[in-house]
Symmetry: C2
Subunit: 466 residues, 2 copies
């Protein structure tokens, strides 16, 4: 197989490697308006799988999908003071429409809290209407000064859950399961510091993944909005004694940024490595040469794989060299490759190649389907194990802010929050290092009281981030 230096090696320049993978694996490219992106078929296929898996979990948790408008009256954003302050610098504003200047400009949604606030105020009347669990799949716009495809784009796709409850309640958190089970990304879950909290929330929980270069990526967040939005939008209900009460609301989101996280968590110097559960192409049957019945055998294997539910694709484009095609499928990170050639076939076997380890095995053609199914499970587990090892090896408990800065060059530092505090957080910021989240010493999520996480053993997880 050709080993030309198609991609910049990660160790040499990780950001450039990332750009190379996006281009060569045909995931996405820049759109014509600065900061926007064009998601290509192969990249969008991954996003569709993410959506399907996430949507099923959201529905299982009892939430129903809705669609709210793209355009929000400017006045809505001003109703919640912290919210408008947080988002104002990033807003795109429509001032002209239908050939006329608008009397009230409309904002392109940066998130839909305010419109959900408005509809929830109408939809919730009595305690019987609670909890109200809603979700939306949509595009949102936040004007980005330093855009990077998938990670930080002016427009991105996401889901945003919005819920209203009679009492303070934790948000639905199907994220953790999704990240581990589907994406094979061993995220750290914790709460954000006041500085990093969502605009208008009383508490923000986050899932932080460690990328291949040791930097952190916020993969999803969940916000307790307290009664802030309920007060601003009159989301209230009559309780069972007939008394009017304000609701407690939450919101939670995950976006196309996860595609970037997938690339940076699992990719290697040969390209992308897609975990099988999120791969829209799980296996490729690669015809070496169409001789001595190899073409028919390859097509039959592809059909047999599909019949047992494997998302398989047949590559019989033998006018392109075998090596070039194998390299392309490696670049695209398809988890398992079955190579079918006349020579092997004459001996009753085909070659199975795992993308995660590169391991090649000869398997009898009669057992190839079973072997692929098993290999898919192994690759899924293998990628999670590899990412978990890296995360654990590169997470170091430290005893000073200086040490934290040192460790954060290559991974995550854990430092007692009592040793860091707001001042320490400011010092880290001067080094482009942030507190990704606060956890208990055992890695669990701390309790939050009056907007502050509590506990003797609070630790800050500190890193550089995307």
């Amino acid at each position: 197989m050709a080993k030309a230096p198609i991609l910049t090696p990660r160790a040499e320049d990780f950001p450039r490697w990332y750009q190379d993978v996006l281009a060569k694996a045909e995931l996405a490219e820049n759109g014509p308006v600065r900061g926007t992106m064009v998601i290509k078929p192969y990249g969008y296929g991954i996003w569709e799988r993410m959506q399907a898996e996430m949507d099923a979990r959201i529905k299982d948790a009892g939430a129903e999908n809705v669609y709210l408008p793209l355009f929000i009256p400017e006045s809505y954003l001003r109703r919640e003071a912290e919210h408008v302050e947080g988002f104002s610098p990033e807003l795109a504003v429509v001032t002209v429409a239908g050939g006329k200047t608008l009397e009230e400009p409309v904002v392109v949604r940066p998130t839909s809290e305010t419109v959900f606030g408005e509809v929830m105020a109408r939809w919730v009347q009595s305690y019987r209407d609670l909890p109200l669990l809603l979700n939306q799949w949509a595009n949102v716009v936040r004007w980005e000064l330093r855009p990077r495809v998938f990670l930080r784009t002016t427009e991105f796709l996401w889901q945003e859950g919005h819920t209203a409850h009679a009492t303070r309640d934790d948000a639905v958190a199907c994220y953790l399961d999704f990240m581990h089970y589907v994406l094979a990304v061993p995220v750290q879950v914790g709460v954000k510091t006041r500085r990093e909290r969502f605009a208008g929330a009383i508490n923000t929980m986050t899932c932080e993944g460690m990328m291949g270069d040791g930097k952190a990526l916020q993969m999803a967040t969940s916000h307790e909005l307290g009664q802030n939005f309920a007060v601003a939008f009159d989301i209230d209900y009559l309780d069972d004694t007939g008394t009017r009460q304000h609701c407690w609301t939450t919101s939670w989101g995950s976006s196309t940024r996860m595609v970037g996280g997938l690339v940076m968590c699992h990719g290697d110097d040969a390209g992308l490595r897609v975990p099988p559960r999120v791969a829209h192409v799980q296996a490729v049957v690669l015809l070496v040469r169409d001789e001595d019945g190899a073409g028919a055998a390859a097509a039959a294997l592809d059909a047999d794989l599909r019949a047992v539910g494997v998302r398989s694709r047949l590559d019989a484009h033998t006018s392109t060299s075998f090596g070039r095609r194998a390299t392309d499928w490696e670049l695209k990170g398809v988890p398992v490759r079955l190579e079918v050639g006349p020579r092997d076939l004459a001996e009753g076997r085909v070659t199975l190649v795992r993308r995660d380890t590169g391991a090649k095995t000869d398997v009898p053609i009669g057992g190839a389907v079973d072997a692929v199914v098993r290999a898919l499970e192994d690759v899924q587990a293998g990628l999670l194990a590899e990412a978990t090892s890296r995360r654990d090896e590169r997470t170091v408990r430290v005893g000073s802010v200086e040490e934290a800065i040192e460790v954060a060059q290559t991974g995550f530092a854990r430092i007692p929050w009592s040793m860091l505090g707001d001042d320490g957080e400011d010092r880290l910021a001067t080094q482009a290092i942030t507190v990704r989240c606060l956890q208990r010493a055992d890695g669990s999520v701390p309790e939050v009281v009056d907007g502050s996480p509590v506990g003797e053993d609070l630790e800050a997880l500190v890193a550089r981030s995307y």
Copy 2:
């Protein structure tokens, strides 16, 4: 069952009946910015089913999904002269973003032809790259002066297919099958006159459905763009002799407007009637009273229905009266209702109610699941048959423009195109009547040569429309 006049009768005021159904069946409501809509969970569930069915057909036809940006540089729209002229009056324009006035304002996409043009120009290099079949699920914005929820909204959701071919080629038309088989709407397929053609196309094909009041609704369209966009955006390729050639492109779309069409085609004075194939709730198991094991029996029936793949829902909210709940499910148009009460159950039976005909049947509890499955097929076929009868009864062949105007008050008129022509079309326009499409006398789609449909027997299908 209560028969209170919950909805305005259709015969009294069809548009008001439509608004009533949207509200009472909890499909959608107006958004805060004029012309926008909030799609509620029950309405969005129908859209999700439409998407799933349509998406499967689009993928079967070989197209791949992509995502292109919401924002388009103004200059892009100007590249194709007719296109910009057609859309200019409807554009929403972002002039301020990130706190600054933009140097070049960006347009919120009214459709994505121009961005597809730009990416196709890069993705197509050689004849080997053709045909290129792409599709996008997205929101688009066209500033509407007279908005109506689902039918004509400032923002709507849709899919837009865009394809590039080496030779002039008909667009993929999975629409007809979808409309008949899934939506049970017997659409007329034909070509648009020059006056009604898409801005920038050389030919527009349309699927026209007849609504309950005899008016037409354009349910989906498909445009041959000729080489217009290929010339404007340099979408060209090297043919097998190495000569540079312009591509031929097409685009085709269907939108949330179909939800409005579904309501107006199948609804009756008791509410919505959803064809089973597009219903996200196909059957409701309605517990009459939770006595003598009826609750457990209802829950078991619901589980059994789900086990055989019926999208069933259990309604055990016995704190609300049975009559009220039955009326609500009627309003929502759930195709089949199973009523489970202690009295019937003691005799080993439950009551099955078909939403389309209102017919009630006692069925033995052991045969209830099979009876529901059969009833779902019957309702699907029944709704299509009813809509087809109405369409055929209300479509009249006429011999003069005056007659056409008369017939169009209650249905579709078919008039020889040679008798109507451009002048006749202008006369109809003064009566708010349009040519919905041109067909052959046998109802088939005519050939189009140099932008004009040809044939001795061309007929215009003439109607009022939404």
